[in-house]
C-alpha cells in the first residue's frame, strides 16, 4: 500500500461534518453526566411490575456512563463507527436517558413501567396525526392543518359521545376530520390556493370555533354535553401476561391498538399495493402518473379525506380515550408535533410511529419527573426531554427529503 491509500468508503464533506458533530455531542453528554448526573446521592428504584424493581446507583451510573461516553466520543472523532454509528448513537442516547432518570429519582423510586405505558397511550394522537400527514404529503398536498383536525374532532366527538355513545362519538370525530380535510382539498386541489395558508386558516378556524363552543355551550351544559366515561384498557390474553412488555403494549385502550393497526396498514398500503404505488407517484412526480391515465386530483381528494378521517380518530382520543371531556385547546400543539414526527420518520409510517413514541416519552417523563424534588426549576426539567429529542433528530436524521411534489397543485398540462 502506498501512503495515499484509497479510503475504504466514499464520504462526503457533509457526512464528515455530521460525524464530527455527533462526536462533539457525545462529549457534551459526557460533561452533563460528570457535572450534573453525579450530583445527587442515593439509589433510584425503577419499578417494572407491581412488586419488583431494579435499582441504579445514580452517582456511580453517571460516572461510569460519562467515562464510556468520553471513550465513545474519542472513537467517533478519530475513526468513526462506520455502519454501526446509528446503533452506537441509539445505545448512547438510551443510556443517557436512563442516567437522567436515575439522577432525577435518586433516593426514591418510581413506576418505570407505568411511565412507558403512559408513553404508548400518549403516542396515539401523535401517531394518527402523523399518518394523516403522511397520507396527505405522500400524495403531494402539504397538510399543516392536522392540529385543527385533531382539535375540532376532539370537540365534536366529546359532544357526540356524551349525547349518544362512544362508538358514535368516535365516528363523529372521524367525520369532523373528513369535513376539514374536504375544505383543504377543495381549496388546494380545485382552487390551487397556497396549501400552507389554507392549513393555517383551518387551524385558527378550529381553535376559534371550539373555544367558542367550549365557553358558550359546553361550560353551561357540562353534565349533559361534555361528560363521558372514557374507554377502559383491554387486556390482550396471553400477550398481556408477558412481564414488562405485556403491561406496556397489551394493557391499552382500543385507540392504541387501532393506531398500531393504522401504522401497519398504512405501511403495507403505501409500499405493497397499487394504491400505494400511485399515491407515492403523485406525490413525487404527478405528471408521470397523469400521463399514464391515473386521475391525479381524484386520488389526492380521496387520500386527503382518508387523512382527515385518521386524524379525526386521533382527535377523539382525548375525550374518549383518556380525559372524558373536552377542554379549550386540549390538543395544545400535538398536531404540529405529529408533523415533526412525519419528518422524523422520513414520511414512513413506522418511522413516524417511532417519532411519536419519542415525543410521547418526553411528555410522560415530564409528568413523572415533576413529582421529584430535583432542586432544578421544573421548567428546565420540562425542557430536558426535548433537548434529547433535538439531539436524536439531528444525529439520526440529518437532511431528510420530502415528497418532491408536496405543495404543488396539479394541472392537466
Amino acid at each position: 500500500m502506498t501512503a495515499a491509500a484509497v479510503p475504504d468508503r466514499v464520504v462526503s464533506a457533509e457526512q464528515r461534518k455530521r460525524a464530527r458533530s455527533v462526536g462533539i455531542t457525545y462529549l457534551v453528554l459526557a460533561m452533563v453526566c460528570f457535572f450534573i448526573f453525579t450530583r445527587r446521592p442515593g439509589d433510584a428504584g425503577f419499578r417494572i411490575t407491581e412488586t419488583s424493581q431494579f435499582t441504579l446507583p445514580a452517582q456511580g451510573f453517571g460516572w461510569a456512563l460519562g467515562i464510556v461516553l468520553v471513550a465513545v466520543a474519542a472513537a467517533q472523532l478519530l475513526r468513526g463507527f462506520g455502519r454501526l454509528s446509528n446503533v452506537v448513537l441509539a445505545l448512547a442516547t438510551a443510556a443517557f436517558f436512563m442516567s437522567f432518570l436515575a439522577w432525577a429519582a435518586a433516593g426514591d423510586s418510581f413506576s418505570f413501567v407505568g411511565m412507558l405505558q403512559d408513553t404508548v397511550s400518549r403516542s396515539v394522537p401523535i401517531t394518527l396525526g402523523a399518518i394523516g400527514g403522511i397520507l396527505s404529503e405522500r400524495s403531494g398536498v402539504i397538510n399543516i392543518s392536522i392540529e385543527g383536525m385533531l382539535l375540532a374532532a376532539a370537540c365534536t366527538s366529546a359532544i357526540a359521545a356524551s349525547l349518544t355513545n362512544l362508538w358514535l362519538g368516535t365516528l363523529v370525530g372521524a367525520l369532523t376530520g373528513v369535513a376539514l380535510a374536504a375544505v383543504l382539498a377543495v381549496m388546494s386541489i380545485r382552487y390551487k390556493v397556497d396549501q400552507v395558508i389554507v392549513g393555517f386558516a383551518i387551524n385558527f378556524f378550529a381553535l376559534g370555533v371550539t373555544s367558542f363552543v367550549s365557553f358558550r355551550v359546553l361550560v353551561p351544559n357540562r353534565d349533559t354535553m361534555n361528560n363521558l366515561l372514557p374507554v377502559t384498557p383491554i387486556r390482550i390474553p396471553l400477550l398481556a401476561d408477558v412481564p414488562f412488555i405485556g403491561t406496556i403494549f397489551f394493557e391499552q385502550t382500543i385507540f392504541v391498538y387501532f393506531s398500531f393497526a393504522a401504522v401497519a396498514l398504512a405501511t403495507w398500503g403505501l409500499y405493497r399495493t397499487k394504491w400505494g404505488l400511485r399515491t407515492r407517484a403523485i406525490g413525487e412526480y404527478p405528471k408521470a402518473a397523469g400521463t399514464l391515465g391515473v386521475d391525479v386530483n381524484k386520488l389526492r381528494y380521496r387520500n386527503l379525506l382518508l387523512a382527515g378521517a385518521v386524524a379525526g380518530i386521533g382527535g377523539a382520543w382525548w375525550p374518549i380515550g383518556i380525559v372524558g371531556r373536552f377542554d379549550q385547546n386540549i390538543t395544545n400543539g400535538r398536531g404540529f408535533i405529529a408533523l415533526a414526527a412525519v419528518i422524523f420518520g422520513r414520511w414512513h409510517p413506522v418511522g413516524a410511529l417511532c417519532g411519536a413514541l419519542v415525543f410521547a416519552l418526553a411528555e410522560a417523563v415530564r409528568l413523572k419527573i415533576g413529582n421529584f424534588d430535583t432542586g432544578i426549576p421544573s421548567e428546565f426539567l420540562i425542557m430536558a426531554p426535548y433537548v434529547v429529542t433535538i439531539i436524536v433528530v439531528a444525529g439520526f436524521i440529518g437532511a431528510s427529503r420530502a415528497p418532491k411534489a408536496a405543495g404543488q397543485p396539479y394541472e392537466d398540462q
Binding site: S12, A13, E14, Q15, W268, R272, T273, K274, W275, G276, L277, R278, R280, A281, E284, Y285, K287, A288, A289, G290, T291, L292, G293, V294, D295, K404, D412, Q413
Partner: protein, 506 residues
Amino acid sequence: MKFELRGITKRFPGVVANDNVNLEVSTGEVLALIGENGAGKSTLMNVLYGIYRPDEGELRIDGTPQHFSSPADAIAAGIGMVHQHFMLVPVMTVAENVVLGVEPTGRLGSLDIDEARRMVKEVSDKYSLELNPDAVIEDLPVGVRQRVEIVKVLMRDAKIVVFDEPTAVLTPSEILEFFEIVRSLVAAGRGVIFITHKLKEALTIADRINVLRRGKVVGEANPKNTTESEIAEMMVGRAVQLVVDKKPATPGAAMLQVKNLSVVEPDGRTVVDDVSFEVRVGEIVGIAGVQGNGQTELVEALSGMRRAASGSISVADRDVSHDSPRERHAAGMAHIPEDRQRQGLVTEMSITENLVLTRYHDAEFSQGIRMKWDVAAARAKELVAAYDIRTNDPSQPASTLSGGNQQKVIVARELSRDIRLAVAAQPTRGIDVGSIEYVHSQIVKERDAGVAVLVVSTELDEIMSLSDRVLVMYRGRIVADLDPKKVSHMDIGLYMAGSRPAAVAS
C-alpha cells in the same frame, strides 16, 4: 391500422395553436413532424393523446371517430407517448415506473412486484432494450431512462408511438442506438411519430416528413428527394442560411484565462473538476458536452453567479475570481445565460427596462437616484431597430415577445456594450431557425471586432459550425481540445460520452 387527425383546430385565448390540421400515420411507418418552437407541435400531440380536446375536427382510427377525454382513453386506443421531459418518478424503480397505472395485483389489491419485474423483462428482452427492473430511475443515465419510457409505452401495447424531441438529451452514439430502436419498432409493425426540430435526424429516420408552421401543416416532404434547406425554408417561410458564414479566425492575445477551476456542490460533489483553458481575442471557443456535465456550473462560476471552490479566472490579465457579477460586467464580460426567462430577463418588466438592466447605473441612464427614462427609451428604440427585435412597442413586457425575440433582447443588451469577452450559454436553445441564424451572425460579428467568445452548447451542430476551437466537457473535466475542421461529429460524440476515439487512443 391508420390514425388520422382530421381538420383539428385548437384555440387558446389570443392564439390559434392548431389551424385545421390534417395528419395521418399508419403502423409500420415513421412520420417526422417538424416545426419551430411554438409552431403547434406539442398542442397537436396533446390533442392526439387526450390531454386537450380540439375545438374542431376529430381523430379517426381506421375511419372510426374517437373521443378521448383523458390520456387513459388514448392509451386504450393504442397511442403511446414518450415525452421530451421523461415522465418517470425518480425515486422509484424501473419496474414500478413501468407498471404505474396498469399494476398487476394479487389478493386484496396488493402489488405483484415479481409479475411487474417479469413483464419488464419480457418486453425489454423482446426489443433487446436491456433493462434492470430493480434499478432506481435517478441512478440511470438519460439514454437508459428513455428506454424505460419506451418499455412503458410498449407494455401498454401502443400501436402508434409518439416521440417528442427524443434526441435532445442524447449523445451522438445514443442517438444511433435510438434510431435502431425506432427501426425495430417499425419492423414489429408499430407506427412512429417523431417530433423534432433537427432536420438531419428527420431525414435519416423518417418515411415521410410533415412540416408545421404557425399551427398549420405547410408541407409534406419525402426524405428521399428533399434537402435540409428545402425543409428549413418550409419551416421558416423563407430561405435560411443553415451554415454559419464566417472567415477563418485570427486569434490574438489571451483574453479569458481559467486556471485549475473547480466548483463543488454543497453536498460535496465536484461538478467542475480542475478545469484550465483560455480564450483568445478574435476566436470563438465552443464547449461541447452532454447536458449535466458541469457546463452550467462552469458558466455560473465564470459569470460570478457561483463561487468557485478553487482556481482562478482572469480577464485581460486581471484576476476577477472574487469579483461580483457587476464588477465582471465592468471588466468587459458579457453573459448570455442559458435560461433566458429566469436569468436573462425579468419577463414582467418592459423591453426597455430589460435592455438597460446591465447599465442602468451608468451616468448615461441615471442621475443620482433618478432614472433617465427618456434616454433609456431612446436607447431601446435604437437597439430594437439594430438587433431586429420584432415588437411594436418597447414599453411592453418582455413576456409578450416570442422566444427568439426575447433572446435577441438579451443579445442586444449584452453585445451592444463595449465588451472584450462574451460568454454565451445555450445561445439558441429553443428559438426559431431565423433567430438562430441572426444570433450566430451577431456572435461572429463580435469575434471579428476583436472580442473573445466562449460558447457553451449541448447542440453539437451549433458547436461545430460556430467554433474555431472545441473543448469537450465530460463529468466536470475538459477531456479534449479539438479543431472542428479536423474532427468528425462521431469522434466528438465519443469524447462527450467519456470514451476516446480509436485513432487517438492507440
